[in-house]
Each structure stands twice: as C-alpha cells, then as structure tokens.
C-alpha cells in the first residue's frame, strides 16, 4: 500500500535534517567561539565523554545562554506555525490558508500595540512582562469572536462563513491598531519591530513560556492526522463516513490557534512559514496528512532555524527581522507554487 515503502524514510530523514539545523544554529553567530569548537564542547558535556574543546566559560555562555534558546525557540515557532498551517489547510480544505486566517495575528498585533502604547518605556524589565500574555490573549479573543459570529451557516457554508468572519475580524483589529498608531506615532518603530518578528531576544524563559502550549497543540493536531485525510472528501461525505465534522473542525482550530497564539506572543508575526512549509512538504511527500503533518512539523522547525541564521550574521550588528527573511524566501516560493498549480490544470 502507498503508506509503505519509500515513504517510511521521510520521518527519519526529517529528524536528521532538524538535528543538523539545530547544530548549525548553535555553531554560527556574530560573536563567540570558532564554529568547529562548539560540537566538540557539546560532546564534552555528554556524560562519560571528555573532550577538550578549548571553549572558555564566556564562550560557552554565548552558546548556551544566547544561541541555544534562540535556536530552540526558532524550532518551536517554525514547527508550530507549519503544523498549524497544514491543519488549517486541512480543515478548511483550502491550500491558501495560513494559521493567521481566523484573526490570531491581527488580534495579537492589536494586543501588543496596546501594551507598547500604554508603556512607552518598554515592559521587558518588568517582573512579568505583560506583552506576550496580552498578545496571546488578543489572538485568542480575535479567533473566539470569529468563531462566534462565523458559525451560523450550516454544512459546507459554515467553513466559508467562518473564513469570511476571520477576514472581517482581521480588518477590524488591524484598523484599531492603525488608529492607535496614528494617535501615538512615536511608538511606531517599537510596534513594527514587534510585528516583523524577532527571535533575537529569545531566552530560556521564552522557551518555557510557550512550551506547554506548543506541546499540547502539536499532540492534538498529530492525533487528528488520519481524520484530516477523511475530511478531504468534503463535509458531506466525511459525515456519511461517520466523522463528526464540526467537532473535528472545532478541536483542530482550537489546537492550532492555541499553538499559533502562543508562538506569536513571543516571536511576533513571522509570515509565510505556515504556507510555504506544508506546501513544500506536499510537493515532496504527497498529500496525505499522515505524512504532511509530522514532516511539516520537523521541516518547519529546521526551516526557521536556518532562516534565522542569515539575519544574525549578514547585517551585523543590526539584525534583519526574521519575518522579513521568511517573507523574502516565502513570497517568491508561493508565487512559484501558484504558477505550477495553474500549469497542472
């Protein structure tokens, strides 16, 4: 059967790719030790092994306290956006959907803008930084509003009205954000640097903050990968095959939203990952969600780690925002997919 054979090698291959990206991510950076000393030191830190890597304590601190959390956060953000994007595309049966479809991004953006506007001096030095929490809540509230107003239709129409409600909620939140920025033009720079996405200030506490949500969301989505394949025949036939379509859609949307809102809250809006990674994966491994979800998860993590590398070395000491790098790579790729799709018809 089609699930057997060569396809069983994809997951190990993706795990290896992710491991290589993780290693590369901690090896490269503008300051710190010579790159090849890092893997030696990592081996040295393993139990029972003792290798002299020649790393000083400061250099190790750069690797472990600055690079490592950034790389791990990039992996969590990339994997979450990719698996959430693939899942959204599955439940809405629309290849052009991204995890921001139902207003998560706009809601989080509005939340962040409010926090920055109210506290111009910045909040990162507070004991508990309210920015991620309020961005997270803003994202969840936006999706909740979308769901409440968008689920009035029945059957096939329900997913269309949900998407339309998402568009409306997104415009509303964006309009409110623009209005706030017009009134407070002195914080535009701060808000934009948040919106464009940043991993540069990542710490282990950011990683701890998002980890529970990311794990929960990922586990729930992976558990639904077979059902996402059944949904591909449409709401009616899936119902006739015994699937409770609206319940599956609700659970998948909740899980994907939870993951997305939590990563957006710490990393800002990193565009296109949720679209390009699942599509690239489909081009390679086929369209079954049983493979698309786990492989998107792994490649999404690897992709964002790698996309984060040019940003920190190219334009040193200034940083190119990660959102700009992914959009630079993503937009042309997206156009390419659209073109090849057109040619297939």
């Amino acid at each position: 059967m089609s699930m057997r054979g060569a396809s069983q090698w994809w997951i190990p291959a993706a795990v290896v790719a992710l491991a290589c990206s993780l290693l590369l991510g901690v090896m490269i950076g503008p300051a710190g030790p010579t790159w090849w000393r890092v893997p030696l030191e990592l081996l040295n830190r393993l139990p029972l092994l003792s290798i002299d890597s020649g790393l000083t304590e400061t250099q190790w601190a750069i690797v472990w306290q600055i690079r490592a959390p950034r790389v791990v956060l990039a992996a969590l953000v990339g994997s979450t956006l990719s698996i959430a994007g693939a899942s959204y595309q599955g439940v809405f049966r629309n290849p052009l959907v991204d995890p921001y479809l139902l207003g998560v991004a706009a809601g989080a953006g509005l939340g962040a803008t409010i926090v920055i506007t109210v506290n111009r001096s910045g909040t990162s030095s507070w004991i508990i930084d309210p920015l991620p929490l309020i961005a997270f809540s803003g994202g969840l509230i936006a999706v909740l509003v979308t769901y409440l107003v968008g689920t009035t239709g029945k059957g096939e129409r329900s997913s269309i009205s949900l998407v339309l409600a998402g568009v409306a909620v997104t415009s509303l939140a964006t309009a409110a954000q623009t209005f706030l920025l017009q009134r407070n033009s002195d914080v535009i720079r701060q808000v934009y640097s948040w919106i464009l996405g940043r991993l540069s200030s990542a710490t282990w506490s950011d990683v701890r903050l998002v980890l529970p949500y990311v794990v929960l969301s990922t586990v729930v989505l992976l558990l639904h990968r077979r059902l996402l394949d059944v949904l591909r025949v449409g709401d009616e036939e899936a119902t006739a095959l015994g699937v409770n379509v609206s319940r599956v859609r609700l659970v998948v949307v909740i899980a994907a939203t939870l993951g997305t809102a939590s990563v957006v809250a710490v990393s800002g809006l990193i565009g296109f990952v949720g679209i390009i990674v699942p599509h690239a994966v489909r081009l390679v491994v086929g369209t079954s969600y049983r493979l698309v979800l786990p492989i998107s998860l792994l490649f999404g993590a690897a992709f964002l780690i790698l996309a984060d590398i040019p940003g920190r070395v190219l334009d040193n000491p200034a940083e190119t925002p990660i959102g700009v790098v992914t959009a630079f790579l993503g937009a042309p790729f997206f156009l390419l997919i659209l073109r090849t799709r057109k040619n297939e018809r």
Binding site: M1, S2, M3, K154, L223, H224, R226, L227, D229, V230, R232, V233, G234, E236, E237, T239, A240, L241, G242, V243, N244, R282, G286, T287, S288
Partner: protein
C-alpha cells in the same frame, strides 16, 4: 440482511420542504429505486438516510431509529455513494478505498492490518488493482465510479445508498456499474436504495420503484405498475411510450410530439 423503514420522514431546508412525508418499508436484500423528476426530493431522502441532512419522522434500521446512533455507528450500517463524489487530488486509489474503513477505526486510532487486507480484498474483487496506485485525479468517469463503489463496499455496511449512480456514465459503463452493484448485493445480501433518472434501467435492476413528486410519494410498486405512460406524463411532463418486452423488461422510450398524431 438488514431492513430499512421510513415513518413519515420529512426533510426541510431553510426555505423549502424537500421531502414532505415519506413512509415505506424496504425488505432485507431488496433494491428500491426512487424515481421522480428533478427536484422531487430523491437526493434529499438519500442524504437523510446517510445522515448528511437532518430529518424529522423516523428512519428505522432493523427496527431502531437511525438518529439514536452515533455517526460512527450509523456509518457502519449505511454506505452512501453521492451523485458527484469528491475525489481528493493527490490521493491514491487504495488510500481512497481505505477511507471506507473510517467507521471501524477509533477516533485517534489507525487502520489495522485487517482493515488493510479488507481493502486489498475489495480492490482485487472489483478488479481495481490497476487503480490502486494511481492518483484519483487521473481516473476516467467509469473508473471513478467503480472506485467510489469500492469505498462503499469496504465500509461493509448492510445498506447501500446510490444517488444517481449512472448519471455521468455512458451506456456501457452504466450497465457495468449496475451489474456490479447487483452482483455485490446478491453476494453480501445488501439492501440497496438508489435514485435513478433512467427509467428503463431503474425498472430492470430494482425490485421495486417509488415515484416521488414534490416531496410526496405518488406511485409505488413493481416496474410494470409504476412505469406507465399516463403516470409518467402526469409527473414528469414527458411524452413517452412504454414497451413491454417478452422477457418482462419494461422499456421507456421518449417520443417526439408529432409521432402522437
């Protein structure tokens, strides 16, 4: 074998009533064919049995109401072949047939070896080995129809619903599809309910016909009783001649208006 009974079944959409009141009993192993003009309510009735649209009244499978069952359990009893099935592009033929096993797989579970061998078996028996590893997007109309029937058979449901199973097929493929359903019905003791536009084929393959018009049953019985020119003229607005062949086949032939003079 499983019986299917309808007790004042009614299907309402937002702005209109598709089925007003349908009462009937389909015997175990019987093939009931629902005929009627476009918009009469044939598809709505089948969709109600499949659980795709809500209904009032009662649809009873072996005496107990369908609505009392979970959607999974219902799908174990009723397999549905829609008029225009969605075959997701990029899906392989065998993966598509495997979807029919969904009612037997737990929510978060995976198909067992048994499910896979069941699918392999259906593919072999329906002679679809050539389609198993092909993208369903590349299949012809006849191949698609056979694959959808294979999915329904893999569902192992004792009741098979077919909505216009021959609508997109040429005369040869129409015959093949209906022969296949008939063979499977006899092999598995399936109870079949289908809607059909071709009245001659409906008469040949079904045990009994029900003619519905604007949501109401207007005639019911064997082909000889239901298929008569005046009834068809009244409800279809059609000019037809009905021939009775020596072997009992009823042939419905449209006739041009001039020919009546």
């Amino acid at each position: 074998m499983t019986s299917l009974a309808f007790d004042q079944v009614r299907v309402d959409y937002a702005k209109r009533t598709a089925v007003a009141s349908f009462t009937d009993t389909v015997k175990p192993g019987e093939w009931l064919c629902i005929i009627g003009p476009n918009g009469a309510g044939k598809s709505s009735l089948l969709r109600a049995i499949a659980g795709v649209v809500p209904h009032s009244g009662r649809i009873l499978v072996d005496g107990s109401p369908l609505t009392a069952r979970s959607s999974r359990r219902r799908a174990q009893l009723v397999a549905y072949v829609p008029q225009s099935p969605v075959l997701p592009s990029g899906m392989m033929g065998a993966e598509y047939v495997l979807l029919g096993r969904n009612p037997f797989v737990t929510h978060f579970g995976r198909e067992s070896e048994l499910d896979h061998s069941m699918v392999d078996d259906v593919i072999e028996r329906l002679d679809l080995a050539g389609l198993a590893t092909r993208d369903v997007d590349t299949l012809s109309g006849g191949e698609r129809q056979r694959l959808v029937i294979a999915r329904a058979i893999a569902q192992e449901a004792p009741i098979l619903l077919l909505d216009e199973p021959t609508a997109a097929l040429d005369i040869g493929h129409q015959q093949q599809a209906l022969e296949l359903v008939d063979t499977l019905r006899l092999e598995h003791g399936l109870t079949v309910v289908s809607s059909m536009h071709d009245l001659t084929l409906a008469g040949i393959y079904s045990d009994r016909l029900v003619l519905i018009h604007e949501g109401h049953t207007v005639a019911s019985g064997i082909a000889r009783e239901v298929l008569n020119a005046s009834v068809l003229a009244e409800f279809y607005g059609a000019n037809v001649r009905v021939h009775h062949e020596d072997d009992g086949t009823i042939v419905v032939v449209p006739s041009k208006r001039e020919a009546l003079k």
